[in-house]
């Protein structure tokens, strides 16, 4: 019988993993420390308390072979303050971006463009406007590319991915 090592190592996948942890101090550094100590890669990470509970949800986006993803899940499960680890395959993902654009740019299309990415103008000052959009991570990347090309943004801030099983 052949073992599965070959299959296991070859396919690189992007994965969204959510981790439910006890809301105690240093729990985030345990999670992040695990990734750095074992050489796993974090694409994005978001954390917030789960309402009406003593737990928080950490959403991690990572890329790796099946073996690496499996190890990540197992190693996360091993951490004492971790209640549950979900490796998602069929999820709604959302990422938010805030972008500051100088006021002297040609801004006539910005609102329409943002709207196409489920966004809108959030604030306007004498120097700049701020737009935001919330959408799938790949679409947010697109939005950023378009804005960068046309409007010379001053600042771009992304939230990282939150996800929920469909």
């Amino acid at each position: 019988m052949n073992n599965f090592n070959h299959y296991y190592d070859s396919i690189e996948t992007r994965r969204v993993i959510s981790v439910i942890v006890i809301n105690e101090d240093s729990v985030l550094s345990r999670i992040v420390g695990l990734f750095s100590a074992r050489g796993y890669n974090i694409d994005s990470l978001t954390v917030a308390p789960i309402p009406d509970s003593e737990y928080s949800r950490i959403t991690i986006v990572t890329v790796g072979s099946k073996r690496v993803i499996d190890q990540i899940v197992k190693q996360l499960n091993k951490l004492i303050p971790v209640l549950k680890v979900n490796e998602h395959s069929n999820v709604i993902e959302k990422d938010t971006v805030l972008i500051k654009i100088p006021i002297d740019q040609n801004l006539s299309d910005v609102a329409a463009l943002a709207a196409a990415y489920r966004g809108s103008i959030q604030n306007v000052t004498e120097d700049a406007i701020v737009v935001s959009a919330t959408d799938e991570p790949s679409r947010i990347m697109n939005f950023i590319k378009v804005i960068q090309k046309r409007f010379h943004p001053l600042e771009i801030v992304r939230s990282g991915v939150v996800a929920m099983e469909r």
């Binding site: 073992n3 190890q71 499960n77 091993k78 004492i80």
Partner: protein, 561 residues
């Protein structure tokens, strides 16, 4: 009744039935030491270095199976303890280490002797805690012992600020453990065990591969029974020496980089591996893409993360090895196994063709002879620790280990300086046995100050120093792989070891003939004092066989006459 935090530490240790703790005081832990002074539930052994306190608790745990306990102060006290924690972590040794911390009001200000101890210990402990207030201290102490010994065991670190040890609070230790996020699996899945047995029964050349988990879960009787019932041959890792017993006819020896030819060939040729508490360490597998290429793999481990980490098994079984072995031994009767007699005799042939051996000499003592001879003279009467280097491998190869917990060695981290303090823990935990520490002239100097602890607490550790005037193992690699460029491995400048131990108050013997060795060992055992037997051995002896780094298990350098 309210008691202070320091007293709670004492009470927790008492409730856990611990009869000895090792440690070293200092400012931040003084409240605890004051309570240690007032109590008489357990002995405190003052080591002469914090690293040694942790290794001693570790050796005590490995030899007795109990949780080891050590106490140190903040700052440098704690940083000295780190190598000990890492050593225990890599070998999954149950241990609780308590450190003092600066008062909560000073934390974060770079106060005197402040260091982020939980930040430092995180990657080298199973879990750790910084106690924030007195209310949570009893729960944390209770959890610490529970986490240390349950599931895959490991060291747990509890850092307690000085003001917390001074504060009064309620101590309610009897409370049940309530950890919703920590529930290790203990019982293996029966269906999966059955499927594994089906596969085993059909294999032609199955092989049992035992690791340190067999020792930690006290499964060695069950493993012997299973091997006997099925007539499946067995190989042991370094950490599993003693599980089968030296004379067991099914034991094909230790495998790995310095494993026996028969063991490595068994692993190379097997069509089904039954891995019991072993983790496919790179020193065991050799070149991974050549490892057990066509074998079916059954992998039993209490730690789900160990399964599939290096090789992907066909039959993963998560559970405490002892419990899984009990199931296996019960269910084994329902199966008709193939006859493995010819497979066993083929491996026996390998053992005959290429036995573990060395070329003895009458001019100069061979280090392997010393190990073998000690085994002949003391055998199961001794519990054996080692430091790290060639002497460690020779001990693993040539000492006749007969039971689990007889061999105490730093496998995962490979810590020089481990041997003497670990042997102190053994001497304290197993007072009816002789505590032998095989060490090298390099390693022994790494925790030499502990001779004082041995003298003070009457710990009769016999250190057999295989003196080759080299950092021998590194010298061997330089000889074999670096054209004999001996960069910084010559230890020609050495202290007078006999005078050195006499200065501490122990006894020492320097020997360079076989007769002298026998006599010295006899005297050392009689003396019941910490002892050195410095054996002047062949300087240029190499550890063989050897699988060079990055080679497959069948590509061994063998001994040539």
């Amino acid at each position: 009744m309210k008691i202070n935090g320091a007293r709670m530490v004492i009470e927790a240790i008492r409730h856990e039935g611990v009869d000895v703790v090792f440690g070293y005081p200092g400012g931040a832990i003084m409240n605890v030491y004051d309570e240690i002074y007032k109590q008489n539930h357990f002995q405190h052994i003052l080591t002469r270095h914090e690293q040694a306190a942790i290794h001693a608790a570790d050796g005590y745990s490995r030899a007795t199976g109990k949780v080891g306990v050590a106490i140190v102060t903040s700052g440098p006290g704690f940083t000295n303890a780190v190598t000990g924690l890492a050593t225990a972590y890599m070998d999954s040794i149950p241990m609780v280490v308590i450190s003092g911390q600066v008062p909560t009001s000073i934390i974060g200000t770079d106060g005197f002797q402040e260091i982020d101890a939980v930040g430092i210990s995180r990657p080298c402990t199973k879990h750790n805690y910084l106690v924030q207030n007195i209310e949570e201290l009893p729960r944390i102490l209770k959890e610490a012992f529970y986490v240390a010994r349950s599931g895959r065991p490991g060291p747990v670190h509890v850092d307690i600020p000085k003001d917390v040890t001074a504060t009064m609070g309620d101590f309610d230790y009897e409370k049940e453990i309530n950890m919703p996020t920590y529930k290790p699996t203990t019982k293996g899945n029966k269906r999966q065990i059955k499927k594994a047995l089906e596969a085993i029964a059909q294999a032609k050349k199955p092989l049992i591969y035992v690791g340190g988990g067999a020792v930690l879960s006290n499964a060695f009787v069950d493993i012997r029974e299973f091997a006997k019932k099925t007539n499946i041959p067995v190989v042991e890792t370094l950490m599993a020496r003693g599980v089968m017993g030296a004379d067991n006819p099914l034991l094909m020896g230790m495998l790995g980089m310095h494993g026996e030819y028969s063991a490595n060939m068994a692993m190379y040729e097997t069509d089904l591996i039954i891995s019991l508490g072993a983790r496919f360490d790179d020193r065991v597998t050799g070149r991974l893409d050549q490892f057990a290429k066509s074998a079916t793999i059954v992998h039993v481990d209490v730690d789900p993360a160990s399964i599939g980490k290096i090789v992907v098994p066909h039959y993963p079984i998560v559970g405490d090895l002892k419990l899984v072995m009990e199931d296996l031994n019960e269910m084994v009767h329902d199966f008709e196994f193939n006859d493995y007699a010819s497979w066993v005799s083929r491996l026996k042939e390998y053992q005959k063709e290429q036995p573990l051996r060395f070329v003895d000499s009458d001019e100069v003592i061979k280090p392997q002879w010393v190990v073998k001879r000690t085994g002949e003279l003391l055998g199961y009467k001794a519990i054996v620790t080692t430091d790290v280097g060639q002497h460690q491998m020779w001990t693993a190869q040539f000492y006749p280990f007969d039971f689990a917990r007889q061999f105490v060695t730093s496998g995962g981290l490979g810590t020089m300086g481990f041997g003497l303090p670990a042997a102190m823990g053994v001497a304290r935990g197993k007072e009816d046995k002789v505590s032998i520490n095989f060490t090298g002239d390099g390693s022994i100097l790494m925790n030499i100050q502990e001779l004082m602890t041995c003298v003070e607490y009457k710990l009769p550790v016999i250190n057999i120093i295989l003196n080759n005037n080299y950092l021998g193992m590194v010298r061997q690699w330089q000889t074999m792989f670096y054209d004999d460029r001996l960069a910084e491995t010559d230890l020609s400048t050495q202290p007078d070891f006999v005078k050195l131990i006499e200065a501490f108050g122990g006894v020492g013997y320097r020997v360079s003939t076989k007769e002298q060795f026998d006599e010295a060992l006899h005297k050392a055992v009689e003396a019941k004092k910490v002892a050195f037997i410095e054996v002047i051995v062949d300087r240029r002896e190499n550890v063989l066989p050897m699988v060079p780094n990055g080679h497959a298990l069948n590509e061994m350098h063998l001994l040539k006459d």
